[in-house]
């Protein structure tokens, strides 16, 4: 009897990982309560905005993959392009207007998928959050006349936070980033509000703007463009919060959070470098033969 042959898979035979598709799917699922609350507030046209954005995103994704000669199926099914589109649509509606025309979505999604994602090397290689690049381009190209954030009431914030807690529970996102974004915002604004409650909005007003919660749980936690070290994530979140407040205060741009995220994206690799944890045995002199293990 000739021996039965086997193959070397080059990796362990047990996997406990969630696939990329599953991760993206869970994030989309966690967005649903917030989307429902926003639909109640802005009307069903929000769903139209999302549908338009998702359609553009998938079309452009397929076109870019074809141009790059990359296989279509894995990238189109990993749900990363639809997630970008949904986050883009939600942020655009929250920071500009629920009535943005379809071509605005096309410009924004084009910037997100073509420039921010594929021209930078595709999924995993993009330094800037594609959804935020899209919103920033739209903001700069078509400046809203009323430069005030639309505050759709606390329910939107509360339901986005609920989705965020679900992601924390499922360990899809780390706790450091949202805690740092929200915590820093509250801590920094508290003294000003205590000093003069009349001229400074309360912390709750910041938090319940809805946008900040969306960013804290769903956008600043983007693994590709954020930090990967625990301390780096704390610094990243704190940076997003501080820059948002600074841009709002001195820049006079109500949508400062979009630019804050992009600036912190640029700083993320440096923060990761500075916040790198020490590995086991780092800096210790190589032990003599005595520490041998025969495990």
């Amino acid at each position: 009897m000739s021996p039965r042959t086997f193959r070397d898979p080059g990796r362990p035979s047990l996997r406990v990982a969630r696939s990329v598709t599953m991760t993206m799917g869970l994030v989309l699922l966690a967005l649903l309560p917030g989307i429902a609350a926003m639909t109640v507030f802005f009307g069903p046209q929000l769903l139209g905005q999302i549908a338009v954005a998702v359609t553009f995103a998938l079309t452009l994704e397929a076109a870019m993959l074809a141009l790059r000669g990359a296989p279509l199926r894995p990238a189109l099914t990993d749900l990363s392009a639809p997630l970008t589109a949904v986050l883009f649509a939600l942020t655009m509606v929250l920071t500009m207007a629920p009535t943005a025309p379809w071509w605005m979505s096309l410009v924004g999604i084009g910037a997100a998928i073509i420039v921010a994602k594929h021209l930078c090397g595709g999924l995993g290689r993009n330094p800037f959050n594609p959804a935020m690049v899209g919103v920033a381009v739209v903001l700069l190209a078509f400046p809203p006349e009323d430069s005030h954030l639309i505050a759709p009431g606390p329910w939107v914030a509360i339901l986005y936070a609920t989705g965020g807690l679900f992601l924390l529970w499922k360990r899809v996102i780390p706790w450091q980033t949202p805690l740092a974004v929200l915590g820093t915002t509250v801590l920094v604004t508290l003294p000003f509000w205590l000093w003069n409650p009349d001229s400074h909005p309360s912390q709750l007003a910041h938090v319940f703007s809805g946008t900040l919660v969306l960013v804290a749980f769903f956008i600043a936690t983007d693994p590709v463009t954020g930090c990967t070290t625990p301390r780096g994530r704390l610094l990243f979140g704190a940076g997003v919060a501080l820059l948002t407040l600074a841009i709002q205060r001195w820049g006079g741009i109500a949508q400062g959070v979009v630019f804050a995220v992009l600036l912190m994206n640029a700083a993320a690799p440096l923060l990761d470098r500075l916040a790198r944890p020490r590995w086991v045995g780092e800096g210790r002199r190589a032990e003599s033969g005595n520490g041998h293990h025969d495990g």
């Binding site: 898979p9 047990l14 990329v20 590709v224 033969g289 520490g291």
Partner: protein, 493 residues
């Protein structure tokens, strides 16, 4: 000294065989006994084809001065041939196997028993080397020649954190007293005053027997490590601590107390590529196919065969490979819709799980950019190759395989660098020597014309002696030397 504390890791399913009595697998018609079963140099065959061998008879001896381990016949029979083939060691190197046609009955060649307490340490050490004991953990150190510094603590490692591996648990369940006696023996050999038995919390089938055995020997401490893979990362890593596998202790005890060389071991057979799982007592040299046959055969969809568990087990090319001294488990696995690798999304799950607290995602990026130095600066050398990062990677990237290859590349570059530095040094010394000799000869000629010939001859002899000293003492690459010896062995039969 701390036990059980380490960063990251994973809780994996146990997948262990039912704890029943361990059955002895009857020997197959032919045993293929590998002459290389550990890290080091292959043994040289010392029997000829056609020769009758007794059980326990030495069939492979350690080449002179080499780091090797003797090999013995697991059963009486006739040597019918030689085969070269892959062995169940890291990298599945090829080695010679002695093929023995097993006889139904035959003589035994036990060594005389030694008193483990009264016998001189040198005699015990010699016995353990003579019996071919190697470390039962994957690395297969030869137990007799551990590093020489005297440790304070001997840890008997029975942690077994890999899923589907329960051979240590079975051994402790069935023969706890002999394991402990072996531990005492190894402690005497290395001079450790304190003995700690480290087991996993989930080894419930062995704990009653172990506790009962320990009741009579309260000086041996029992430590239970949480069942988080890789639990052996929670063993103290500090000078003054020596770690031996419980299987090593058992084999050492049998060698001293019963005069039995190492010819069989407990092997867990299982994985999801087999219908049934069990721990069996198997003769070294049994083809793996015989183990599968005893358990109902491989499942049709089993595609991966490993010596060891699913995480660190060595992938084997086929089931003709023989069980070796370090084969704690033989497991077969199905690959269920294994996704092809997707791009890294830098989720950092690997960094959260890495017991060495590395950042595999950044190491991976460095290696993709062919930046070995950059990877080293991020701690590549601290990788313990446990495979946790692969297991958690949502993009199904083969991270550990890359780190292992990079580690090998680093070591090769270091070896080459050192070899070239050594060669340069030898060359320079030689030049100096020649110059000095020439000057001496010239001086001698100038002063004593009559005896110049003998002076030159003396200088020449001195030079030759020096050259031999340099060339002979060089710590030649063990594997390379081993390959040479194996070639010699090839001609012997």
């Amino acid at each position: 000294m701390s036990f059980g504390r380490f960063f990251g890791g994973l809780v994996l399913p146990a997948m262990k065989p039912e704890p029943g009595p361990v059955e002895r697998l009857p020997p197959p018609a032919q045993l293929r006994v590998p002459l290389l079963q550990h890290a080091g140099v292959a043994a040289e065959a010392c029997v000829a084809v056609g020769e009758r061998v007794a059980r326990f008879q030495r069939i492979g001896r350690v080449p002179d001065g080499a780091l090797g381990a003797a090999v013995h016949a697991p059963a009486a029979g006739v040597v019918v041939g030689w085969e070269r083939g892959p062995v169940a060691l890291p990298g599945t190197p090829e080695a010679w196997h002695v093929v023995i046609a097993v006889a139904a009955k035959g003589p035994e060649l036990r060594l005389p028993p030694l008193d483990p307490v009264a016998a001189p340490i040198a005699a015990l050490r010699e016995r353990i080397a003579e019996a071919g004991i190697v470390g039962f953990g994957g690395a297969g150190f030869r137990a007799a020649e551990r590093p020489t510094a005297v440790p304070r603590v001997l840890i008997l490692n029975g942690v077994e954190c890999e899923p589907a591996v329960a051979s240590d648990e079975a051994l402790l369940r069935e023969r706890p007293n002999e394991v402990l006696a072996g531990g005492r023996l190894l402690a005497r050999l290395c001079g450790a005053a304190r003995i700690v038995l480290a087991l996993g919390e989930r080894m419930s089938s062995a704990l009653p027997a172990v506790r009962e055995a320990l009741a009579a020997q309260p000086d041996i401490e029992l430590v239970l490590l949480p069942d988080r893979y890789p639990a052996d990362a929670g063993l103290p890593r500090e000078p003054g601590v020596r770690v031996h596998n419980v299987g090593t202790a058992y084999a050492a005890w049998r060698a001293v107390h019963a005069g039995e060389p190492l010819v069989s071991r407990f092997v867990s057979v299982g994985g999801d590529g087999l219908e049934r799982a069990a721990t069996l007592e198997v003769m070294i040299g049994t083809p793996i196919a015989a183990l599968a046959a005893a358990l109902g055969g491989w499942r049709d969809d089993a595609t991966v065969l490993r010596a060891g568990g699913p995480m660190r087990g060595i992938a084997l090319p086929d089931d003709a490979v023989a069980v070796g001294k370090t084969s704690s488990a033989i497991t077969a696995w199905r690959e269920r819709g294994e996704a092809r690798a997707r791009p890294c999304i830098r989720c950092g799950d690997c960094a959260q799980a890495c017991p060495s607290r590395l950042q595999p995602q950044r190491l991976h990026a460095r290696l993709q950019a062919n930046d070995l130095a950059g990877a080293q600066a991020l701690g590549l050398d601290a990788c313990i190759e446990c495979g946790v990062c692969d297991a958690v990677c949502p993009s199904a990237i083969a991270l550990t395989a890359g780190f292992i290859a990079a580690g090998a590349a680093v070591r090769l570059a270091e070896h080459r660098r050192r070899a070239s530095a050594d060669a340069r040094q030898r060359f320079e010394r030689r030049n100096q020597r020649l110059q000095r000799d020439a000057e001496e000869a010239k001086q001698a000629q100038a002063t004593r014309t009559g005896r110049s010939a003998s002076a030159a001859a003396a200088a020449l002899a001195k030079a030759r002696a020096q050259r031999e000293a340099v060339g002979g003492a060089g710590p030649a690459d063990a594997t390379a030397a081993g390959a040479g010896k194996t070639q010699d062995a090839e001609g012997a039969p």
